[in-house]
Subunit: 162 residues, 2 copies
């Protein structure tokens, strides 16, 4: 059985206990931008209930243009006001460089991606970089409540980046 | 108290019961690309355990270039092989058009985004569009196991898009 099929079986149990539907706009007016890392269960780690918060995730939890797109839609159309950034310790993005990754893809496929891979050598500094990108964006109207954290994969704690 | 501060308090409880760390590569070799919607708890709805799967999320769950970036890193550096796409019913992306959204931003700020908002009028067709983008990408090596679903926010079920 594929993992996908196993997760579909899991979904039958989930649906059996489901109580919905909830309203579309996030009830807590917050958006989270976090890394895709498998060890980070965003809802569990922050205690986010269903219907409360948008959760945006990508490789690194980086404020890419696509994350800005999602945050713009979140704030402008669905009323969120706070933004929480979550990077984490032992991130895969610390283990390579954009140049090496793109050269490897070019060596394998003949084509070099036109996008940045967004690898970073310092997780706290990348949280600050993402905060700066969000505050500098003309498309995100509410940037008074943007805070960034590093999730520690060893102890489960969120540590704020100042 | 801000919502962020409440979630930090929740995190103290989470960390108190935390058992880690887990290995970096996803143990189930799967990546999920899902919408950021607040009503969709991806880990709960699919029964994904911590450490098992990458979870990528954006407005719509669309296979944007940034999602392709994340999937390329997931497969090429961290060994995932299956991809699960999750859109959902009553999605906010069904409620506007790219042109209207971008004109509103231009009217408010004077600046029109250089990116597509990725709104869509048909959720199942957008799942198919995202599958086609993934299969067409030269940067994602493993596309034999890409399946797409629509999560029903009324009953919690995942319905496969054929």
């Amino acid at each position: 059985m594929s993992v996908t099929d196993q997760y579909l079986l899991n979904n039958e149990n989930y649906a059996a206990g489901f109580t919905g539907p909830l309203p579309l706009p996030p009830s807590q007016n917050v958006a989270v931008l976090a890394c895709m890392d498998a060890r980070l269960d965003v809802a569990a780690a922050l205690g986010i209930g269903e219907g409360e918060a948008h959760v945006i995730r990508n490789a690194g939890g980086v404020a890419t243009d696509d994350a800005i797109r999602s945050l713009a839609i979140s704030q402008r159309l669905l009323g969120t006001r706070e933004i929480i950034l979550v990077h984490h310790t032992e991130c895969g993005m610390l283990t390579f460089t954009d140049d090496d990754f793109k050269q490897q893809i070019q060596a394998d496929t003949g084509i070099k991606p036109a996008w940045a891979a967004e690898a970073f050598p310092d997780v706290e500094e990348d949280v600050r970089q993402s905060i700066r990108r969000i505050k500098a964006s003309p498309f995100i109207p509410h940037t008074d409540a943007v805070r960034g954290f590093v999730f520690d994969v060893a102890d489960g704690r969120l540590n704020e980046v100042k």
